[in-house]
């Protein structure tokens, strides 16, 4: 493999990995902030316990996002120096703003929240978490402004072969970015909703299995207490049933939001990157039909071997234009158009290495775009449906004893993660062969584009890339195992894992010292939290 291919694999792997942590950070952070706010408002202890428990899991995950995030920023310069030189004038600004205006806020105020229990006045302590959550959300906005400029370059003019920013307003209100931001936040909330739902289900199931909770003749829960298991009191049941319901409701709302934003995003993409959407549909010929199933050799790229098995007439046209009759251009129509606009062959430039002068393949890898698009929608919809079913099943206050249902609820946590990953893989792979995609319609700035083949660092050898890919992938794999092991340990521990005082009532840090009341303000010398 050449340096370019390795660099692409590396970018894909570290980015998809990083984006396992990011949506959980954004979504769970917001939910923990809501739980803590509810605790302040109502003073009910189950919300404090929920805040501490979910907050602990949030932090275990958060640090992995932080640690892998630095790679994201450095790798543009390290592996993609030509890209950095080309886009730096417009792409660097949102990246720098992300650090200066979002990451600082996020990390500083989260540090205050972690170490500030009992040390800060309760309201300020809560405000710190909200500010940190806003920092996370703001960081998503800035990085999506950067990414969306690669999908829909706006606000620039070409000077000496480089795009120069001339209209910051256009860059920062890029319609692609605003919609992607909405889509990403709702996607993140879907992840957090599923996370709460699955884990809360497990604990409710555990309580039933351990004989703590039972149901009466009409199926309503009879909440019990365990004398032997620390923390398994009646409030513990409230922690989990409320977490479950909050999670399920958030998951459903989030899916509705991501459906709306996804539809808007799709309409923009039909206009801005028609080839990506044609490839998402494996739509070779012009038409109006949405493909439910296409078989054959999608990877042949020449469309001759793709067979559409089942189609819904008019739906594709609706997705793109809100009517049922407008023909959508297929791959066979688009390729000659792209060739006419952006050339049939790569320029004879040393930047392209051995690829210089080769014919350009404008069709993305169709099995990836076709199935990525469907997995994104499928996983997202499944998770929302499951959340609705879960709400109905638990309407009488607890979960059934069936083990397979509990397993399904836990396994279901993965579905929104899968939807997020599939969506990103689809949209980034669908942009190929461009790293900065030209927009054939009038909405973008014409003739601003860059082929991925020209973006890689010319001075970095394939050997160096192999070294970094192998070492990063190994370390990431090990750390993923460590993170999951820790999450499982803390999940199985229940609320006691985050509140040791529940296991030793009355001891230091116990119920009597004010920490369990929202108005409590310790401020003593003893650290309320320590590594």
């Amino acid at each position: 493999m050449e340096a370019l291919d390795i660099a692409r694999w590396q970018f894909g792997i570290v980015t998809v990995y990083h984006f396992l942590m990011v949506p959980l950070t954004i979504g769970l952070g917001a939910l923990v902030a809501i739980l803590q706010t509810t605790w302040h408002r109502t003073g009910r202890e189950e919300y404090l316990r929920a805040t501490k428990f979910w907050g602990k899991l949030f932090l275990i995950n958060f640090i992995m996002g932080v640690a892998t995030g630095i790679v994201q920023e450095f790798q543009f310069g390290m592996a993609w120096s030509e890209y950095s030189r080309f886009v730096g004038d417009v792409f660097g600004a949102p990246l720098a703003m992300e650090s200066l205006l979002a990451f600082f806020v996020e990390s500083t105020f989260l540090g205050l929240w972690i170490f500030g229990w009992k040390r800060l006045p309760a309201k300020i302590h809560l405000a710190c978490l909200w500010i940190a959550v806003c920092g996370s959300i703001l960081s998503a906005y800035f990085i999506l402004v950067a990414n969306s400029w690669m999908q829909h370059p706006v606000g620039v003019r070409m000077v000496n072969g480089h795009p120069q920013m001339v209209d910051a307003w256009a860059v920062f209100t890029n319609n692609t970015a605003l919609v992607a931001f909405f889509h990403t936040i709702t996607g993140a909330l879907a992840v957090a909703g599923g996370f709460l739902l699955g884990i809360a289900w497990y604990h409710l199931w555990r309580r039933r299995r351990d004989g703590i909770d039972t149901v009466d003749a009409r199926g309503h829960v009879i909440v019990g207490e365990s004398a032997t298991i620390p923390g398994r009191d009646k409030r513990d049941h409230a922690v989990w049933i409320k977490s479950l319901r909050i999670g399920a409701v958030v998951a459903m709302i989030a899916f509705a939001g991501s459906a709306v934003s996804g539809d808007l995003s799709g309409k923009l993409m039909f206009e801005q990157q028609p080839m990506k959407m044609a490839a998402a549909e494996a739509a070779c010929h012009d038409g109006t039909s949405f493909s439910v199933l296409s078989v054959g050799d999608l990877s042949s790229r020449d469309c001759s071997k793709v067979v559409a098995v089942m189609e819904i007439p008019g739906l594709l046209s609706f997705l793109a234009h809100n009517d049922f009759t407008t023909d959508i251009k297929g791959v066979n129509t688009l390729v000659p158009e792209y060739q006419a606009k952006y050339g049939k062959y790569l320029p004879d430039d040393p930047l392209y290495g051995t690829r210089a002068g080769q014919e350009i393949n404008y069709v993305p890898v169709m099995p990836v775009t076709y199935w990525g698009f469907r997995m994104m929608i499928g996983f997202g919809g499944l998770a929302a449906l499951a959340a609705a079913v879960a709400l109905w099943i638990t309407r009488k206050g607890t979960v059934p004893q069936a083990k397979w249902l509990m397993r399904l609820a836990l396994f279901g946590i993965l579905a929104p993660f899968g939807a997020n990953a599939a969506g990103w893989i689809f949209t980034e792979m669908g942009r190929q062969p461009f790293v900065v995609a030209p927009n054939p319609s009038m909405s973008g700035v014409d003739q601003v584009f860059m082929f991925t083949a020209a973006a890689v660092s010319p001075g970095v050898s394939a050997g160096e890339m192999v070294f970094s890919l192998a070492s990063l992938a190994t370390v990431y794999a090990v750390l993923l195992v460590v993170e999951v092991v820790l999450l499982v340990k803390y999940i199985r521990g229940g609320t006691v894992s985050a509140m040791p005082e529940l296991a030793h009532p009355g001891g230091p840090g116990g119920k009597d010292d004010g920490g369990t009341h929202p108005g409590g303000e310790g401020g003593g010398d003893v650290l309320a939290f320590a590594y």
Partner: protein, 356 residues
């Protein structure tokens, strides 16, 4: 015409100096985990002195990187791609270090803790050494061609300046960590930290002084020499303050040494941001590496709002956590078992009985 690029050169220098000033001591505290701390309680004490602030400090690095990308894309691209292998090590070190801070106390086993202690110590050392090497090389030069790409293979960046820069940062971080621990802790650790500063001040600061002198010799500006002299005075003040048990003053004097030293280095190389050792015509300078005036103007507004804000709330954080801590303040670590009933309680009959 060159006003904005010059301003941004200064701002980048400020960001790097801010990074070294703040993360300097927490990298140093990380390195001291394996050498200075004598037992588990002391190791936890060390961790908790930087616990609330290390992550915020690290963002200075991300901001310095991001700001370089935004303001000087050609500098960012050439420097980061040329130092590919060392930066991979820096990234791995920062990853391990960050995760170790958070995960170390989460499982109660000696092997677990010892493993993460190594991750913190080695991670801090490698990160400090690598970043020091990178900064030294951007002031002394890399073998760049006309396009700004490194020639000569994956290790062509290696010069003794890289080693010098690495040692300079490691030395400074260790010393600053000593001064910080003397300021932030009480008891035996405080006294040992003070002794460390007194004993190691000269050898620890020597590499950074040598780097500044080397850069000043190459570029020869009276201004830089004056700053170097002032930095030496600041180091002497730190030593005296430490001797008189004025820990705050000693910490700040070491900070002044860093600020003066890095100003001396950056001002000596200006307007070159990254020299090419092959041909000085291929040097990257504030003008040929910078973004357009429009982008720099936009970023100036953002920085004018953002930087004072960051300084304000980070200063507030340090104020909140200003109290000295000692090993007696640390709550005991706690362990917990899975919240599950005994294996015998999993039958169907028990489930009914438990609800009674």
């Amino acid at each position: 015409m060159d006003f904005l690029p010059t301003l941004w050169f200064i701002l980048i220098a400020v960001l790097w100096t801010g990074y070294l000033f703040l993360e300097g001591f927490d990298l140093g505290v990380g390195m001291l985990m394996k050498t200075f701390a004598r037992d588990e309680k002391e190791r936890r004490l060390l961790l908790n002195t930087v616990g609330p602030v290390w992550d915020g400090n690290e963002v200075w690095l991300i901001t310095a990187g991001g700001a370089t990308f935004a303001a000087f894309p050609f500098w960012y691209a050439s420097l980061f791609s040329s130092l590919y292998i060392p930066l991979v090590f820096v990234l791995l070190a920062l990853i391990f270090r960050a995760v170790a801070f958070e995960y170390r106390g989460k499982v109660h086993s000696d092997i677990w803790r010892r493993t993460w202690d190594w991750a913190i110590a080695v991670g801090s050392f490698v990160a400090a050494f690598g970043i020091g090497a990178m900064l030294a090389l951007t002031t002394t030069g890399l073998p760049l061609n006309a396009n700004g790409d490194r020639v000569g293979g994956p290790f062509a960046w290696f010069t003794w300046y890289a080693v010098l820069g690495g040692l300079a940062l490691v030395g400074f971080c260790l010393l600053q960590a000593g001064a910080f621990l003397a300021l932030k802790t009480d008891g035996a650790v405080r006294h040992r930290a003070r002794r460390l500063v007194g004993r190691w001040l000269v050898p620890a600061l020597l590499p950074m002084a040598a780097w500044a002198i080397a850069v000043a010799l190459q570029n020869g500006k009276a201004f830089s020499w004056a700053l170097i002299a002032a930095a030496v005075l600041a180091a002497a003040a730190a030593w005296l303050a430490n001797r008189k048990d004025r820990e705050g003053l000693s910490f700040l004097s070491l900070g002044a040494f860093l600020v003066l030293g890095s100003t001396a280095i950056f001002s000596a190389t200006f307007p070159v941001v990254l020299p090419s050792t092959l041909n000085s015509a291929w040097n990257l300078t504030v003008t040929n590496a910078s973004s357009s005036a429009y982008t720099l103007g936009l970023m100036t507004i953002v920085a004018a709002v953002g930087v004072p804000l960051v300084l304000a709330y980070q200063a507030w954080t340090y104020w909140i956590f200003r109290k000295r801590i000692s090993i007696t303040h640390l709550p005991d670590p706690h362990d917990f078992a899975p919240a599950v009933g005994p294996a015998s309680a999993t039958g169907k009959g028990v489930a009914a009985a438990g609800g009674a």
